[in-house]
């Protein structure tokens, strides 16, 4: 009841403000104008009033997004707290960027299909010519500038208190946004309209790149602008996220190049774009860390010595280098990148360990106590875990496979993707030279096995994580808010529970194209429903607890209750279920690869089985070719099941079987 009233109250408050506040109206006006302009342009270009169906759909969608933006900006005014305000702003700008992208893409779509009459430029279908790329570049650049100008205007309004600071920050923000727009433009080149099936993976990875790049831009902006004191943990957490983003972007850049995104000359641009994005992100990471430390020092009076500050920066840089190394892992044929990556990861880890020792200095007393508490609870969990022999076995297998995944390709005698002259025409059984024998192309099975572990593990973990995130979000939303949200989300969940999972994955991959990231995305998006159910049930029971009522009485908002009370309580449950999800994701990945829907250039255990099946190795008793990947998959799945189950019994004792 309470929630409802609040909502209505807020809504009625917004409506008059919508008229009054030009800043709040800006995204709305921009969005609507762009949508109308795009439609008009389309009418002009196609020469008829019949607007293609999909384009009109997208235009309507963009307008909707614009409306959402407006509401988000209005929400800004609700918050006195600048941190929260910026969170909302981030959302606003993500949506604005996406809006700009949508509109630009649909304009371009129209141009590519019909050419530009009057100017005399026509574009060949389906190739995206250089002219269209230039057009695209300019328009997206313009969009970026428009959005960033709007952003800067708002920021200046927000930091009225110190005009000089605001000016300086606007300058910083301007520069950053320009670089970010450049990065976005590259992303947009990657996301060319999907006109044929030959390069299907480009669509999704390009879109992802765009999204991540805009996120990076937004984060960097937010970091640079907000000079309010924050705690180090939050900031370093942000930085870790950013580092992961960079790794992903690097991978995507590589993915796009390998996926024959654009022929020869254009590949360079993508490289440059990725590099630009990384530079932005680097700035975004290093600046705030330094700032936070400075602020913390000022606040606490006895700050960190400058050597340690230097070490922190060094550590972050080496972590970056490490991730670059990992990102480049499967570019044949050097293998040096990986060794380099491992080395710098080790250095980064050691440094992190070193700087994390005098935590009290940075974190303050209460935080240190909290940390100690979490360490003791970890110890307690481990003490219980040790009791289970099964669990230890599962953990041992997991550690071994992880070890293989990390160092496997480095110690493998051969690169499975290399072309080589076969010496034997038939697969050879295991021998001293080839421990696991060879396959039809006279390639070493042992090397393939070592390479395959990495992909199976990475896909499993990422896909499991993705579905855990979706499931948790859906579960908490529907459990906590109830009513219509619950009803709608649960119908949706039921739908995903009921739908046959494997055919759905096959259909999605057939549409989205075959690539490493598509497989992760598809597995994640298909398998979240059970988690949502479990989390919802848990949230429902927690919601009834008295302390929730008390904190509502004390005036806690929804987000406070969700993040401070509900999420920590369902977290153990999520951990246990997501480990089980990882097991299922590994299974799905193996089968999708086996079915021929995986990325053909990525070596995994499923890929090995597919090749064996194609050459009908089963018929000829080439057991040395089949057993390693098959047993690898089985052991990995089993170990995840066991570990998940053991953890479940420790973390969620109420669920223990009688």
């Amino acid at each position: 009841m309470k929630i409802n009233l609040k909502f209505i109250d807020r809504f009625t408050n917004w409506v008059p403000r919508l008229r009054m506040n030009p800043v709040a109206l800006a995204p709305f006006v921009i969005g609507i104008t762009l949508a109308i302009a795009a439609l008009a342009l389309m009418v002009f270009l196609t020469g008829s009033m019949e607007i293609p169906q999909k384009e009109s759909l997208i235009a309507v969608f963009s307008a909707l997004i614009a409306v959402m933006c407006t509401f988000a900006v209005n929400a800004l005014k609700e918050y006195r707290d600048i941190n929260r305000a910026f969170t909302v702003m981030i959302i606003t700008y993500i949506t604005s960027f996406m809006l700009a992208l949508f509109i630009m893409s649909l304009v371009l779509n129209a141009i590519v299909v019909s050419g530009v009459p009057g100017v005399g430029i026509t574009f060949d279908w389906p190739a995206v010519s250089l002219e269209s790329i230039i057009f695209w570049a300019i328009s997206s650049f313009a969009a970026g500038i428009i959005v960033s100008l709007a952003a800067i205007y708002q920021i200046r309004l927000m930091s009225k208190k110190t005009p000089e600071m605001a000016q300086l920050h606007s300058l910083y923000a301007m520069i950053l946004m320009l670089v970010a727009s450049a990065a976005i433009l590259i992303g947009m080149i990657a996301w060319q309209p999907r006109l044929d099936l030959e390069e299907p993976e480009v669509g999704i990875s390009g879109l992802l790149a765009v999204f991540l790049l805009s996120l990076i831009a937004i984060f960097s902006l937010e970091r640079l602008i907000s000079k309010t004191p924050m705690n180090l943990r939050k900031d370093s957490f942000m930085s870790v996220i950013l580092v992961v983003f960079i790794a992903v972007v690097a991978l995507i850049g590589y993915d796009s190049v390998v996926g024959n995104l654009l022929v020869t000359t254009s590949e360079k641009y993508i490289m440059y774009g990725t590099a630009a994005a990384m530079a932005v992100a680097l700035i975004a990471i290093l600046f705030p860390i330094g700032d936070t430390i400075k602020i913390n020092r000022e606040l606490s009076g006895h700050g960190m010595p400058s050597t340690r500050r230097f070490l922190i920066n060094l550590c972050l840089v080496s972590a970056l280098v490490a991730l670059f190394g990992f990102a480049l892992y499967d570019i044949p044929p050097t293998g040096n990148a990986l060794k380099f990556g491992i080395l710098s990861a080790a250095i980064a880890g050691a440094l992190l360990f070193y700087i994390s020792i005098p935590l009290k200095e940075v974190l303050g007393h209460s935080k240190t106590e909290k940390l100690k508490l979490s360490i003791t609870s970890m110890k307690r969990i481990w003490m219980q875990y040790k009791e289970s022999r099964f669990g230890l076995f599962g953990l041992a297998v997991l550690i071994i496979v992880t070890g293989i995944a990390i160092i496997g390709p480095t110690i493998a005698p051969q690169n499975p993707l290399d072309l080589r002259e076969p010496e034997n025409l038939l697969p050879q059984p295991p021998s001293g030279k080839y421990w696991f024998g060879t396959d039809f192309e006279d390639k070493d099975v042992w090397s393939q096995f070592l390479w395959g572990a990495r992909v199976s593990l990475i896909v499993g973990i990422l896909a499991g994580l993705l579905s855990a995130i979706i499931g948790t979000a859906v579960g908490i939303t529907s459990g906590y808010f109830g009513k219509i949200a619950d009803e709608v989300l649960m119908r949706f969940t039921d739908f995903f529970l009921v739908i046959p999972w494997l055919p759905l994955m096959i259909v999605l991959i057939a549409i989205l194209g075959r690539s490493f990231w598509v497989v992760i995305f598809v597995i994640g998006i298909v398998s979240w429903a059970p988690t949502a159910r479990v989390v919802r049930a848990a949230v429902l029971s927690i919601k009834e607890k008295q302390y929730i009522e008390r904190s509502i009485a004390l005036g806690a908002g929804n987000s406070h209750i969700i993040f401070r009370h509900i999420f920590p309580n369902v977290f153990p449950l999520i951990v246990a279920t997501s480990i089980l999800l990882v097991a299922e994701a590994i299974f799905s990945e193996a089968f999708l690869d086996f079915f021929g829907l995986g990325d053909p250039n990525v070596v995994s255990w499923g890929w090995m089985l597919e090749r064996a099946h194609q050459e009908s190795a089963m018929m000829h008793w080439y057991w040395w070719w089949i057993l390693p990947p098959a047993l690898g998959i089985i052991l990995l799945i089993m170990s995840f099941y066991i570990v998940g189950d053991t953890l479940d019994e420790i973390l969620n004792p109420r669920l223990k079987r009688r």
């Binding site: 759909l57 099936l197 046959p500 055919p503 259909v507 299974f587 193996a590 098959a630 089985i634």
Partner: protein, 322 residues
């Protein structure tokens, strides 16, 4: 009671509509013209225009949507692109559906019987050697993906049983065989697919039955039954099992999607020409209308079976009626 049915039917219809919408949008969600999904690049523009008109892709999207709904309810699932004569999909499907139904039906029934038997005995001997052994075995069996069973069985049979048929649902000379020969032939071809399918499913069922039965055995009425002096097996059969099987019905219904997934794998490996194999062929030939139809049929099958399970649960479990 009527409201229960009504609610279930309404849910069924809503989900059906959701699935249809989903299926419709799935193939129109990517940027660019959907016609390029169907035709590889390099097709002539007039040809494309002709097909766009034939398939109704030049219509506004909501008209296409209603057209799709109407067509589907009239049993018109579109035209296949990869089959030589561009046949209507509704004519292609029946034999494939039949084979899949046979395979998954037989697999599920066998799995249910074996699974329940193992689960019951394990729960009855809870904590004993037999229970530990069965549970460990079942957990191991459950962690092995269905398609790996198929690979292992093929490997072993190819090595030790000469001339065993591995591909297709029937032999080449099927039409010339006598009735008994036909039965043997079908059985031989279906044997490996079915046992591969049964392994994982059975293990899952056994584990569910075991845990459900153990839950039931802690209830008070079990103590009452024992105190009455009933023979132990009667307590199991008449009091424990009926109650323990109730949740199992729901679980089996929810697992139909899972089983269908297993069938897809099995059919692909054994070239058993059912829906799963057809799905594979559709993916291979970029035959999106066929893929859409296969997916639709599979989804509807799962939906209907879960609906039936709901109804069954209603009759079996008096608590639902309240």
């Amino acid at each position: 009671m009527r409201s229960y049915f009504l609610r279930k039917v309404v849910y069924l219809l809503v989900t059906l509509l959701l699935i249809l919408t989903f299926n419709f949008l799935l193939f129109r969600i990517m940027p660019g013209d959907p016609i390029y999904l169907l035709f590889p690049k390099g097709a002539e523009k007039p040809v494309l225009d002709l097909w766009r008109e034939t398939l109704g892709l030049d219509q506004p999207i909501y008209i296409q949507y209603f057209q799709y709904l109407i067509d589907t309810f009239q049993g018109d699932l579109g035209i296949s692109f990869s089959f030589a004569k561009r046949e209507p999909i509704a004519d292609i499907l029946p034999p494939y559906i039949q084979k899949t139904m046979f395979l998954s039906g037989a697999g599920v029934i066998i799995a249910i019987f074996i699974g329940i038997a193992f689960g019951r005995e394990a729960a009855w001997r809870k904590g004993k050697m037999f229970d530990k052994f069965t549970t460990t075995t079942m957990i191991s069996l459950y962690s092995i993906p269905t398609f790996l069973y198929a690979l292992f069985f093929i490997m072993i049979f190819a090595r030790f049983v000469p001339n065993w048929p591995f591909v297709h649902a029937t032999g080449d000379d099927f039409d010339e065989l006598s009735i008994l020969g036909k039965v043997v032939d079908i059985g031989q071809h279906a044997f490996l697919p079915i046992i591969s399918l049964v392994m994982e499913t059975m293990a899952g069922f056994a584990l569910i039955v075991r845990s459900s039965l153990i839950d039931v055995m802690t209830e008070d009425y079990m103590l009452t039954a024992e105190a009455k002096g009933l023979p132990e097996r009667d307590v199991l059969k008449k009091h424990a099992m009926p109650n323990a099987l109730l949740p199992v019905v729901a679980v089996i219904a929810f697992n139909v999607g899972w089983i269908l997934g297993g069938t897809v794998m099995i059919e692909y490996i054994f070239t058993y020409k059912g829906l799963g194999f057809l799905t594979w062929e559709a993916v291979l030939g970029y035959d999106f209308p066929l893929l859409q139809a296969c997916f639709f049929i599979e989804t509807v099958a799962v939906l209907v079976s879960s609906f039936i399970a709901d109804i069954l649960n209603f009759y079996l479990d008096p608590r639902v009626k309240i």
